[in-house]
Symmetry: none
Subunit: 283 residues, 2 copies
DNA sequence: ATAAATTTGGAATGAATTTTCCGAATTGCT
DNA sequence: AGCAATTCGGAAAATTCATTCCAAATTTAT
């Protein structure tokens, strides 16, 4: 097998891209351990570039010899030769990046790359703002409320729906069951009655704020339910009917906003709640 | 002299900045050859990071032993220890990130604020990586395919579902109708027949890759449908059944990954496709 | 179920690399 | 200019590292 592959492609990959491509094509026919190497290499190219066989092997959970075999399977003489490709990628990266940024800036906002560059920049700014402006007290109270709740209900429509559906999934994976309130016709409001005082309602809504969501939260809040809201302004109508308000200023491009920062916050909330629940369930 | 310096500053520089600072303060009292090392090191930090003593020494016009003495003059045990600082600088290109991350770790990653700080930093890094690694050709081809498609079908389960549901919403707002394939029981596969050759299938899937999604994409691809996939590795099984592959390396916190970067890319795609469709519909 | 082929782990090998050491050369001081 | 201290070069030693090899384990084919 190996001989055949060598015969088919005797030349060695000369840059990181072709190396990735070769890994991709050969991964089908790779045995378990070599696949493990492949996965590790693609996930941690920096460590391959700088580490020794012993270090990398132990980090990847294989033998040093397997690492050498992996390199040889890809067409290299040995590990060292493959390592050079990873090193080249590491060095070229620095210069390429700035070069690429200027190129993207020049390309304006009408090319796909330009649009992406724009969003990346704004998202980074937005993430900075999040960390700077976040109300840690509100955040901690939110985590507490969600951790203490008997049941967690999630509500969000339109642009907010991906946020709550993600929370639903991630919390579920952490062993925290949640109730994702889907909007199926006009019956949403009727479900308020199934939320009781010991529960928490997590509601996400952004401008323009869906009236039905605000209305729902208002009713729940009126019933004494702990309402944690994620929104884009303290002026949001949801703020008045919430126990705790989390604010996020999302990156924009014209009229279109990303969900990048919001997702970052949502993930953090999920992990924090998962952690808190784990500790309490263990004790 | 050397003994004195050791006595004055027995601690070793722990990052590139303090290393540079020490070189600059000590360079006054350095003899010729060591100064030569200092100059070379500051001018070619990358080569110091990756080369061997023999290589570097010859490039710098000194003996390998001089290189070792140089490192020891700066307070290190030997060359290897100094090299690690240069390597660290190479990996944490914007050493800001790693620096801030360690700062965050010191303040504890178990508090909600700590978890958020962690995700914010990693997400920013992840966004940088996205811009650096994105295959602009693949991106442009994706936009073209999606713009040219008669109908756009969207598929993504579990963690990928929020991504496609967001695309569904955003593209809809831009006047691009899409068909969001929801997973309702085992009937998913039967829907392949409703996708025809002029359509495009956008499929998102992350490790562990849902077999049913891969299977679905495979069938569509087999029917000649343009399949644009968004995934987390070239080893993804979806890659083999796609016309175009977009790769995203998302930020992690332990076992949990955010969707921050993925959402940024998704938004960009939506805006780009929306733009492209607008132009063609106007002309 | 059995045999053949492939893959794997781990020790052994051999190469490469870092570090030490010491005599020679250079520099600084009187 | 002559002496002492420092610096340097280069070889030798010690260490680390990549690679090879082979027996054991696993997988595949019959």
């Amino acid at each position: 097998m190996t001989q055949n592959l060598d015969a088919i492609s005797p030349d060695i990959p000369s840059d990181y891209e072709s190396l990735k491509a070769r890994i991709s094509t050969l991964s089908d026919s790779m045995p378990k351990r070599l696949l493990q190497c492949a996965r590790y290499a693609l996930a941690n190219p920096d460590r391959i570039a700088l580490g020794t066989t012993a270090e990398i092997a132990s980090a990847a959970g294989v033998q040093p010899s397997t690492l050498v075999r992996f390199a040889q399977t890809l067409g290299f003489d040995g590990f060292s030769q493959m390592q050079q490709i990873f090193q080249g990628q590491l060095v070229g990266r620095n210069s390429e990046y700035t070069e690429r940024l200027t190129k993207i800036r020049e390309s304006g906002t009408n090319t796909p790359g330009g649009i992406l560059g724009n969003f990346v920049e704004r998202s980074k700014q937005s993430l900075d703002d999040l960390l700077r402006q976040v109300d840690t007290v509100a955040l901690e109270r939110s985590i507490e409320a969600l951790s203490a709740a008997e049941n967690i209900h999630l509500l969000g429509l339109r642009r907010a729906y991906p946020v709550v559906s993600y929370l639903h999934y991630t919390l579920g994976k952490m062993g925290v069951r949640t109730n994702l309130l889907e909007y199926t016709g006009g019956i949403l409001e009727e479900r308020v009655q199934f939320i009781n005082e010991n529960d928490a309602l997590f509601v996400a809504t952004f401008s323009p704020y869906s009236p039905e969501v605000v209305e729902f939260a208002s009713k729940a809040f009126g019933r004494g339910v702990s309402v944690i809201s994620l929104t884009d302004s303290v002026l949001s109508p949801i703020a008045r009917v919430s126990s705790t308000v989390l604010e996020v200023n999302e990156a924009e491009h014209g009229a279109f906003r990303s969900l990048s920062t919001t997702m970052c916050l949502a993930t953090s909330i999920a992990v924090a709640v998962g952690d808190a629940r784990k500790w309490t369930s263990l004790s």
